[in-house]
């Protein structure tokens, strides 16, 4: 059984490192982990949940603001939601989402409709991809704990 735990731990370590290396996460995510302890054992999962809820809400706002059928597009309204999403993605270490928001913001300021629509599609895909990846990571953690092991601390260089 110990070989099983060791294998899971290695899987977890490799997976976590790959998320950083592929640019999904940055060191702010590491900071979130520092805030998790016995008193707040699910802190990271809880914050990420709030973040993903934020994504749904804000992307909805952006889509509505970019809907030409309701009249002229209000780019400042789009920009306001992008600014908020940029903020929360930065707070949780969602590096790719944040990067997209930077580009998106520029298109808003330039009032570039096609650019905005493209960014909207990309940011939607990106947050969903991250959500799946993190779910896989949390599942590995759960498996380790259920097997009686301890989730290793992963040091990112």
């Amino acid at each position: 059984m110990n070989a099983g735990i060791a294998q899971l731990q290695m899987q977890f370590r490799d997976y976590t490192i790959s998320l950083y290396q592929q640019g999904f996460l940055d060191d702010q995510f590491t900071e979130l982990k520092k805030l998790q302890d016995d008193g707040s054992p699910d802190f990271v999962a809880e914050v990420l949940l709030l973040f993903f809820e934020d994504c749904v809400k804000l992307i909805g706002n952006m889509a509505r603001a970019l809907d030409k059928s309701t009249g002229t597009v209000d780019f400042s309204q789009v920009g306001a939601s992008v600014h908020q999403l940029k903020g929360s993605s930065s707070s949780v270490g969602a590096k790719r989402v944040k990067g997209l928001c930077v580009t998106f913001k520029e298109y808003c300021e330039a009032q570039n409709y096609e650019g905005c629509v493209r960014c909207l599609q990309q940011v939607d895909i990106e947050y969903k991809t991250l959500k799946t990846k993190l779910q896989d990571m949390f599942n590995l953690e759960k498996q380790i704990v259920q097997a009686g092991g301890v989730v290793p601390q992963v040091d990112i260089d």
Binding site: L32, D37, G87, S90
Partner: protein, 228 residues
């Protein structure tokens, strides 16, 4: 009534983002603070106003119980800059303009590094300006404020003890200290708690707190301005 020296440093955190509120709350808890979070500047003022003794007819407006009879003091306000309606800057101004709350240190957080914004806030009386995302290391800058409050609480306790004992020990010591205009903070915490004579010989120049006055009972502290 006694100001318990063990009561935690209470921070009022203001941010319109739920995500960020959760984060700042955990950061502050991890730094051993008691935290109340609100989502806007107006809710923050409401909370402050009610906590200073005014009665509210609408308990639903509060995020915490309205029926606390003893004052729950706010020791520090930390607020986001960019918020709809009242910005963090507006809140800062309102706090500094009010006679009741102007001594509460205010810290501003922002996701944007705009030097003009930072200087404006510091000029208006903000103690610190933190760039988001705020980290545990940033909160170490708040330790001096926590020490000041702890010291204040301890001194108040001592004064109360002294008056109970009916000795004049504390009073004459405090009168002497009015000669001293400036005191270093952290190095001399020990000194302030001991004999006041030692303070008279202290010539250090860093400008921090004034000497202790019986009348004002440690309610006034000059803020420490830090450069960003």
């Amino acid at each position: 009534m006694g100001m318990a020296a063990e009561s935690q440093f209470h921070v009022l955190a203001v941010d319109d983002s739920l995500c960020d509120r959760k984060l700042i709350e955990r950061l502050l808890q991890k730094s051993s603070c008691q935290v109340t979070t609100v989502e806007s500047g107006s809710k923050a003022l409401e909370f402050l106003g009610l906590r200073q003794g005014l009665q509210s007819n609408d308990p639903n407006e509060l995020s915490t119980s309205p029926h606390i009879h003893q004052e729950v003091e706010v020791n520090l306000i930390i607020t986001d800059y960019c918020m709809p309606g009242m910005t963090g800057y507006d809140l800062l101004k309102k706090v500094k303009e009010s006679s009741a709350f102007k001594n509460i240190p205010v810290v501003i957080m922002s996701s944007e590094n705009v030097p003009a914004r930072i200087s404006r806030c510091l000029e208006e009386g903000a103690e610190e300006f933190f760039l988001k995302p705020v980290r545990l290391a940033d909160l170490n800058k708040l330790k001096p404020h926590m020490m000041k409050t702890k010291l204040k609480n301890q001194k108040l306790e001592e004064i109360e003890e002294a008056s109970k004992d009916e000795t004049a020990l504390v009073e004459p010591e405090i009168k002497d200290s009015t000669k001293i205009e400036i005191l270093p903070l952290q190095q001399d915490l020990q000194l302030v708690q001991q004999e006041e004579q030692t303070l008279c010989t202290n010539n250090k120049r860093k400008s921090m707190e004034e000497g202790i006055s019986t009348d004002r009972a440690l309610t006034r502290f000059d803020g420490i301005t830090t450069t960003v």
